[in-house]
Symmetry: C2
Subunit: 390 residues, 2 copies
């Protein structure tokens, strides 16, 4: 079935259990889908846009209230929606760093953090991991100390992922915030893998910015994200335009420079809003989803030769496993090579692992029911049994 030439209908979520690492917590709610249909037209949000003409001030539909709700959701003072978490990193880096300034990121930082630093013509430095692949507060303090001494100037920003994209390991945000503030350096909390699936309290963590990803963890379409900050930093990162036309004398009111005015018109923000009640509710089920993640991980670890590259027991639903000692030994001899494993999973109605990969690969069990959790766990063991690994 096709929508148009070259555009097949996508039926992944309808027909399969999807354990794809980045898709799991972004899939839409039914309400978000309805919002897409009703507000699909680009400027659909603008029907009732009145002075001062800014997206986050629109009251029909209740976009203004949603902005307040979003700030409260992560316990910060101000929030804006952005076209993805990466645009929030960009806005923060461009606001706080001048050319040549230094920004610290984790040795497990997502590539978009690197690009945001590069975009601001700043210099990136990585915070080393400990032996368990965790960023500690001490490591942050030490790196700030080292870099400050080496460069002879204060750092512009620390960006740190609460859970990283690679292992889904938990890093010491509160410790990092304490360390950063001891050196008077602001810190950005990258919650791409937390905001929308587990409770996040920015003030309690002591961070200056909380960034979330709508399409990664808030059951929202792409691109969508959130940038939340304190009153202190709102003045800087959400500063309004100061431009004046030299010929016309034009000014542009309260348009925010880093947001480039309005950010997410149309379906994307309305779908975020439509999913929000479900998102607010589901964060309370986080412990249950982590428990399910451990059930699946345990099943994989019950197969001889398998290892969890992620910290174990799991504290997140995203996990990186090493099956070089099990499934990869079969792949080496199988005519379909690594694809034998994808074939076996797909026959069982499971998709989302990186097709063909049988050495190190990632899975995300977020959103699975208990029945699905048991089924996925059993499926891995079944495949192992079939090939004499178990």
């Amino acid at each position: 079935m096709k929508i148009a030439r070259d555009i097949p209908v996508r039926e992944v979520e309808e027909n399969y259990i999807n354990i794809q690492p980045i898709q799991a917590a972004g899939r839409l709610t039914g309400e978000a889908m309805k919002a897409l249909i009703a507000y699909g037209d680009g400027y659909s949000t603008c029907d009732q846009c009145r002075k001062p003409f800014r997206l986050d001030k629109i009251t029909k539909p209740a976009i203004a209230d949603f902005h307040g709700d979003l700030a409260a959701f992560v316990n910060m003072d101000e929030a804006r929606v952005t076209p993805g978490a990466r645009r929030a990193f960009q806005a923060t880096c461009l606001s706080l760093a001048e050319k040549g300034d230094i920004i610290l990121v984790s040795a497990l930082a997502h590539y978009t953090e690197f690009l945001a630093v590069e975009n601001a013509r700043a210099i990136v430095k990585e915070i080393p991991l400990n032996k368990d692949n965790i960023v500690t507060g001490e490591a942050v303090a030490q790196k700030i100390e080292d870099v400050t001494r080496e460069q002879g100037k204060k750092l512009a920003l620390v960006m740190l992922d609460h859970f990283d994209y690679s292992f889904g390991n938990e890093h010491d945000i509160a410790g990092a915030a304490k360390a950063a503030h001891q050196y008077d350096v602001p810190i950005l909390y990258n919650g791409a893998y937390t905001v929308g699936i587990k409770p996040v309290d920015g003030k309690a963590l002591g961070v200056d910015f909380v960034v979330g990803s709508g399409h990664k963890s808030m059951a929202s379409p792409a691109p969508s994200g959130v940038l939340a900050t304190t009153s202190e930093y709102a003045d800087k990162v959400l500063r309004t335009t100061q431009m004046i036309g030299d010929v016309t004398g034009r000014k542009f009111g309260i348009k925010e420079v880093e947001m480039l005015g309005c950010t997410l018109m149309g379906a994307n923000i309305l779908a975020m809003m439509a999913s929000f009640p479900a998102v607010k509710k589901r964060i309370n089920d986080w412990d249950e989803y982590v428990a399910k993640s451990n059930v699946v991980t345990d099943a994989l670890l019950s197969i001889p030769g398998n290892k969890s590259l992620s910290e174990y027991p799991r504290k997140h639903t995203l996990t990186k496993v090493d099956t070089t000692g099990s499934f990869d030994t079969i792949a080496k001899k199988h005519k379909r090579r690594g694809f034998f494993f994808s074939d076996e999973l797909k026959q069982r109605g499971i998709v989302g692992e990186f097709a063909g990969a049988t050495r190190t690969w990632k899975l995300n069990t977020y959103g699975l029911t208990w029945n699905q959790t048991g089924y996925v766990a059993d499926s891995f063991k079944e495949i192992a049994e079939k090939y004499g690994l178990l």
Copy 2:
């Protein structure tokens, strides 16, 4: 009917003729609506993402081909999709301007161009209009001459709207491009009001960048847009990351700095793609839409006291009119004030004028059938007759 608390179902396009200035050419095609439904999940585009892991390289669905098609569509060498035209201005300004550099825009430039300049910490200067509210090539040359002499350095960029957001007047892009290049300054063509509704040939115009807006003129959801450029400037504005992790030695392949990696995942790009065949076709009907625009404008001008603030005859479907001498005289005495006019239009099934405005206001007749065109024209005259203005 509600989607959720505070989210009513939007039925503007279903129930009314919509002459809203910015919505007309952004409304989705049926195919785009289907794409939204099938690809609504955030990372739906990423099912078949393989090395080198970049949105514009994905072949299933045919996103890579679409990028080539987009470049050809505006006759440039390279194209990328962006979260709105404003993000294309931003990428270009950040690439070409350093702090304190000067960028020229039109005295009718959209505010997002100002913000993009401010975001790059550059300085904006406006090109004056002639007496007909048109930017001429001579005015561009003169302003470059003046600013270069005053500042003692070469300008970083000229950005010019082919048709401006305020009057929908046509500005001399080809003349401006010639002038800019005489001074060795690159020029960006802002086609937010052209790309997707009329043929645009970047090479013939002699511009270095062509920017389009998906949600404004390409029947696509927000945010979406296109940045097209020449091979010469692609190296600069689409440069790939040079960052290397100091601890890990990590590099990030061919990720593009100004795009921040991938730009429009999910429904937004798929809907752009789904609308594209219809968009490619409809640009050939531009003259007909302009003719319809003149029919409606003529009807308004047949009412004594009315003026077209836009150039006349119209060359675009977006028009700014002055009805201070007609409808506003009624508003002054009517108990509903200016809203009497909105009421009268709405009773006739027409929406999209700025509710309550009876002095200067804008309308966009893009997309109307001939029947609808006659009906809208007659409706204005009917209202005038009812209140004794005609």
